[in-house]
């Protein structure tokens, strides 16, 4: 991967959908009369918590793994991740029978480490710094010849993430707007390309925690913020938005709405109570944003991507 991987095209997203079809779940879209009434809008929730591995990340990882030619694939894939992407890549590699090397910093959550091992991933521990992670990943790449699969800047990863909205627009036709969380921007970029490729009139939104609002601020100041100490409970949304990812947000006029952790936690509770879905806190930013900006969504048909359901049940945030 380079720091400026190209954005995928709609046709690459369509190719991704065909490529992952045998492995990924076509997740359901659920509705709730109570949540519609609260929002004053018609809400269609795309339940990626029910995706394989419990998060949308499997889509991108699976597409990246199956995009490799035979010779490259045989050398395996490499990533550094303490979260859902590492697990997703291990699961995706297993579908092709190739090795997945996952660099995991000391201090990562044991449950996530266990999940990576259970999925067949080869774990490499390193010190908990960005530099140590990158150095270890480079070392593993050099030793194995494996291909680095970046969690959000990779073209095929973005294309894979875009397949969720392809499904959503088929399952809930005639949407007026779509909203996804924004972290590194892999899902947001893939969604923008795919959604506007199919329907340029769709209004696109992103939801970002106030404590990791680099995308909102980068868009506002016209220049990418390249360092920030995130301060949010939304562990899936702490990454800085990637350069290509930010380009996609700008080109596709994605409006980023920032929400406080308190607003997100309240929305998370609502999703558990009303949809009966276990979703992780990062997922709930989209509902928090819709409830915060009722004016922007009033009376509209809105698709919301619930990104994952990997939660520590012993440490719920309320």
């Amino acid at each position: 991967m380079t720091a400026v991987d190209a954005l995928p095209s709609l046709s690459q997203v369509r190719d991704a959908a065909a490529r992952i079809a045998a492995h990924a779940v076509v997740t359901p879209v659920w509705r709730s009369a109570t949540l519609d009434a609260l929002a004053g809008a018609e809400l269609h929730f795309k339940c990626e918590n029910l995706q394989r591995g419990g998060a949308f990340k499997f889509r991108g990882a699976c597409n990246a793994v199956w995009s490799l030619d035979q010779a490259m694939a045989a050398r395996g894939v490499v990533t550094h991740s303490s979260g859902n992407h590492g697990n997703a890549l291990a699961m995706a590699a297993a579908t092709r029978g190739i090795p997945a090397h996952v660099v995991v910093p000391e201090g990562a959550v044991q449950a996530k480490l266990d999940a990576i091992v259970r999925a067949g991933g080869i774990v490499h521990r390193c010190a908990p710094t960005q530099a140590a992670r990158e150095a270890m990943a480079a070392q593993v790449q050099a030793q194995t010849g494996g291909v680095l699969v970046h969690p959000y800047a990779d073209t095929q990863v973005m294309a894979g993430q875009g397949t969720a909205v392809l499904e959503l627009l088929r399952q809930a036709p005639a949407l007026d707007a779509v909203i996804t969380p924004v972290g590194g921007g892999g899902l947001a970029a893939g969604t923008a390309v795919a959604a506007h490729g199919l329907d340029p009139a769709l209004a696109l939104f992103g939801a970002e925690p106030q404590g990791a609002d680099d995308a909102a601020r980068s868009l506002a100041q016209g220049q990418r913020i390249d360092s920030m100490a995130p301060d949010t409970l939304c562990d899936g949304l702490r990454a800085l938005v990637g350069p290509s990812n930010l380009d996609a947000l700008r080109t596709h006029r994605v409006e980023v709405i920032t929400v406080s952790d308190a607003e997100t936690i309240a929305a998370m509770r609502l999703l558990w109570q009303e949809l009966k879905q276990v979703v992780e806190v990062s997922s709930a930013t989209v509902l928090a944003a819709v409830l915060k900006r009722r004016d922007a969504f009033a009376g509209r048909r809105v698709g919301l991507v619930l990104t994952g359901g990997n939660v520590d049940l012993d440490a719920l945030p309320w």
Copy 2:
């Protein structure tokens, strides 16, 4: 209602399915490779936590409400319940535009009371004893001429509950066994009639908390236990099994497996983690029973009814 309402026939269950079709949700059936591996069996979970009102109870209440002739319906329906049935009856009555009187004892959970009111139910408070509940219900009936809809002994309620397994057997064909929780036995009786009506070779199981194991003991001793102080966290399964309901269990050779609350709570966590579904503790008895009695289910295709998802998120049992 009388204490010995007749069991429904398969054709009454089919009529119920047609009657409620416009109002109830055809709930999905979900699977999990992880849970299959744990059980050594093929598990098909019928997700009634996604039913209207968050529990299967809506099926029976809706069938009861729409079974009434016009004149009777106009006088409304009456029940006493501090749980899901009261809410379900209020919601069902609203679909027909008739009044629902729900007698709720002092000390009931405020959230459940709020839900009944939100659904349009007319709440009558009484002292928290069985005698006070019955007296108040009788008084409301006398005043209004309304029809009492018993939560599990009513024929049309049992028929309505049986519609869940009709769907399940269509969604997951060629099942070897079906298991439901057993409380008052409305769901267990409706399931037995419907399941054996379609496929007499199906093995039928019930799951009951050890602290409310009156059905298991009644079957073992050949005589219905008519008093017991329940001691279980499974608030949906504290009722004594009804006489007709017990007959259904006996006639259809339903094997009742008892599980401890600790086993049920562990199973509940597994359901939240692996299926990403918010299910209430009573629902988890079925998975607890399958994991406890692996020998009885090994290698078989098993349907499990997850009965509801109405949980107090501030008081999770782990």
